[in-house]
Symmetry: C2
DNA sequence: GCCACTGTTCAATTTTGTTTGAACAAATCA
DNA sequence: TGATTTGTTCAAACAAAATTGAACAGTGGC
């Protein structure tokens, strides 16, 4: 294997390690696995695109992790495939526009929960109307209505978010 | 023990279980432990305030969990203490204004991460300026600058969030 | 002062979620 | 066609995080 054409397969240098660790912390806040942060972080400070086994070799993670991590990053729109050197590997580059990253996260991780929440509350509201005791029924309806306004407000936020982040 | 004065210590009825499960799912999205969702959820559909051992008995969780969960909910401003019956227990009620809940979450869980992120990036930027290779240094500075704008944009969002949620 | 009650702490346990690695599929090459 | 390379899948191993429960501290009643 030739370093000039195959890239650098040593362990990370100290600066790279620090940057990766920033991303590892960052994705933990978002509730994503550490490997996602490692992979995205390394792509983020790498000038050239990297292949799956670049990631395996440089981060010291398994092929399985790298494969699953890249799949999730692709679904989030956080990495894109590029055609790399003359070989038949797939190479990856990070998407670095915050707007795009936030958009992917909202689409994949936030919206589905809001939708399913809205649905569950509708079911609950129907159930609550079968309650005998009128005082209890009234109370439950008030609370469930409030829950609904929470979801509505949250939904209103998302476009605003995307607008602000797109700058 | 008298049910009329001490409250209902049976297991949850189906509707209560469903509501609690909505909150359990909700807090998981936010990266908080399930017990937080259980406790807040039960308070949310309970007409009267509840004591620590009401929570223990009705949710079937340990005293330790209930105590730690209430501590976190207090720090988030998601519950408030009220003086209950004639006994010397502390009773709790949920805060149900989305504005307040979001504010607490942002203050306790979001801002600290943004701050520490900003700090780490400053450290990194200093390190990057020691890099010999000018091309590499330039690239790193560009990327770190971008990271900084991410944090800045994210910070700008928080007040907007609070404004929209406060309606 | 002693007992009963309420709530906290934290080491041990349990649960949940992530990573690994071996088996496999698909694609390319010779 | 068979050998090689690239990447995926998923059950098992592992790691991280939450929960338990027993010991403890504080408080009030008697």
């Amino acid at each position: 294997m030739d370093e000039l054409t195959q890239g650098n397969h040593h362990e990370l240098d100290p600066l790279e390690r620090q940057v990766v660790s920033v991303f590892v912390d960052g994705v933990r806040v978002l509730g994503l696995p550490r490997s996602i942060g490692e992979i995205y972080g390394l792509l983020f400070i790498s000038e050239s695109s990297l292949s799956l086994d670049d990631l395996v070799l440089r981060l010291g993670i398994s092929k399985g992790s790298a494969s699953q991590g890249l799949r999730m990053l692709k679904s989030l729109g956080a990495v894109r495939e590029v055609d790399g050197g003359g070989d038949r590997r797939t190479y990856y580059e990070p998407a670095i526009e915050l707007k795009r990253l936030a958009g992917g996260f909202i689409r994949e991780q936030v919206r589905p929960h809001l939708e399913s929440g809205k649905h569950k509350i509708n079911v609950l509201t129907a159930t609550a109307n079968d309650i005998e005791d009128p005082a209890r029924r009234k109370f439950l309806n008030e609370r469930l209505e409030r829950l609904e306004t929470w979801i509505t407000s949250s939904g209103r936020i998302l476009p605003v978010l995307q607008k602000i982040l797109g700058q």
